[in-house]
Symmetry: none
Subunit: 120 residues, 4 copies
């Protein structure tokens, strides 16, 4: 899986990495138990500090998306807990996005097309 950093984004690098790995898991590109690159390898690959990658992995671990152990490095957690609902933060973000969409003149049907497009 290729991680791409957008240097123009205000999203911190560690969060961009975290987000892309989550999206990789979600899309199935990253399979359960699949090995992630080592902190060192990924940092070298992207050209950033190992501390930054380490932070991404720590967050992913604390969120329950990956498992880490000293021996084998990091891998995708085979059975990620499914809460069955959006986090409070994601609810708020979704509300904000919908508000901005409405002001932008997007109707509900058009908005749901974005969902269909991004879901697949």
């Amino acid at each position: 899986m290729v991680i791409k950093i957008n240097e123009y984004s205000d999203v911190p690098i560690y969060m961009q990495i975290r987000n892309q790995i989550v999206m990789g898991i979600s899309s199935g590109e990253l399979k359960p138990n699949e090995q992630l690159p080592t902190v060192r390898a990924l940092a070298l690959d992207i050209g950033i500090n190992t501390m930054t990658v380490s932070k991404s992995y720590q967050i992913l671990k604390s969120e329950g998306y990956i498992l880490t152990d000293r021996k084998n490095g990091a891998r995708v957690r085979p059975e990620i807990k499914q809460s069955g609902e959006l986090s409070e933060e994601n609810k708020n973000e979704l509300k904000r996005i919908i508000s901005e969409a409405k002001i932008s003149g997007i109707d509900k049907t058009s908005f749901k097309k974005y969902i269909d497009e991004y879901w697949s």
Copy 2:
């Protein structure tokens, strides 16, 4: 309109204010041309510095959501330009939320129920 700040949030205060005013405009709670509280009044009300509120207003102004003049204070811009599509940032955020929703075990139908709920 009541603005509530979550002091534990990672979202900066000026952005929380900005977001809530945008949501107020979107929901219709804030009408076109409606006066917003003065920078001083809102700062006093929330218990923060005037500079912070001022920053929120300047962002809202630069985004085309409000007008400010020194005589009348700030008010909702009557004709907000409609781009007709999501910003790139909102697209990315929406993709991220959808990814997390899928991992959380939410199916597309359930996800769209959130849209229906928040849209009204």
Copy 3:
């Protein structure tokens, strides 16, 4: 001559009025010795404070564009002094605009077309 205020502009109202009268003189729409509306009439017409119009007239007078007397109100000065060169402020503004034009990918020929268009 019709004065139009742009409420979305950051240019102060008194300066918008001043600028439009200067442009009216420059274009010939306002003739030498032509009477300007009274402060009161113009303020009423635009729907602003008389103090604001008064400030515009004072600036125009101090710049040598108009004459005022208590009896006849304000009129276009018949012989405006011609320095034959740009003011320092206008030089700086022109430099800034040219700089931004160049970065925007406008070449000198295209830029001069703006001059031709606005000069006539």
Copy 4:
């Protein structure tokens, strides 16, 4: 690159800084990817507050002229988007300057000499 502030100017300090950096980029004095001084260094150098410099950088960033990150500081954006035309504000300013030039007795040929002088 040397930034010089005119403390008597009506142009706010943060805007003077912004303008001079834009002019530096336009003239080539500031190269693509060239590091700008840190907020602290520039503030100390000019003798103003860091917040003021920070505001300049944020404007430059929002306008797409520079990049900032907390690791490397600010630098000139390598590929600045080219709109190919003047902004509405610059159009209006140019009209105003031309009007004043005409009243000052400058003819079109002389005015274009300013363009030639400032363009190079």
